[in-house]
Symmetry: C2
Amino acid sequence: MNIRMNPEEVLKNSGYKLTQQRRAIIEVLRNSGGPYTANEILSLVSDKYSGINFSTIYRNLELLVRLGIVEKLNIADGYCHFKLTGENHHHHIICNKCGEIREIDICPFDELLRNTKLEDLDFEPVEHKFEIYGICSKCKDKK
Amino acid sequence: MNIRMNPEEVLKNSGYKLTQQRRAIIEVLRNSGGPYTANEILSLVSDKYSGINFSTIYRNLELLVRLGIVEKLNIADGYCHFKLTGENHHHHIICNKCGEIREIDICPFDELLRNTKLEDLDFEPVEHKFEIYGICSKCKDKK
DNA sequence: ATATCTGCAAAGTCTTTGCAGCACG
DNA sequence: CGTGCTGCAAAGACTTTGCAGATAT
């Protein structure tokens, strides 16, 4: 499955139906950025497709994650956050005040590999997360 | 509040009572390592102090986190994990198969600061998390 | 046509809260 | 003794599931 295919194509080629609800979810994620909680996605999608249910949101987000179309973030605020999988590898900075999540391009992992610091761990890395929590510029100015 | 004080002292000096339940929770965390979920902590503590309730576990874990005695980890498995705050700053490697969480001393953050990569972000970092998910040696051998 | 998907409602999990009685200091 | 703590039970928040009817291909 080519990662360059758009979400709709991936769904169809995997044998899933392209329902109105799925279209709406994908469109919301595509146009509004994110990451959003399931709750926020329900609100946003409801504008486009009223009557959509929470179970549909959850079932489809899970499917989209499974297909690699959507990534699920476990931020330390107790909620799951979802966004379209981007082309680029990245990490996040999270504001402790307003909760805003921003992508950053800084990735410490490659450097660790280069420095061979990981070799001693006897551990086969699959993925990694790097998150910086703090105060964003907007909230700093407000204070 | 000196970080070198033991948990019992911190509690007392902060005006909290040193109840049997709190002793048991702290002892379990101290002897069994961790990190453990609230559920696991309930089981472990129940061996020592039967009759203890979930609300007591949660209330006290929250208190201990607030006092800096315990740290709360948000691993991407949907549960909160708790362990005694160690002396040293560290991060975690998490096995996707068995869920084991191990501390590692590798910290990419200092290097980022040295490299001044963070300066452009217009963000005031407070804390950070670095987690590597993958397959631990035990699970690799099993496969 | 038919296998999949949705909405609804109900249940499941983890966590929090209100309250009366207990226990630490 | 008195405040704070616990156990109990109930509720809250988020997520999952079973099922009958609707929908995409």
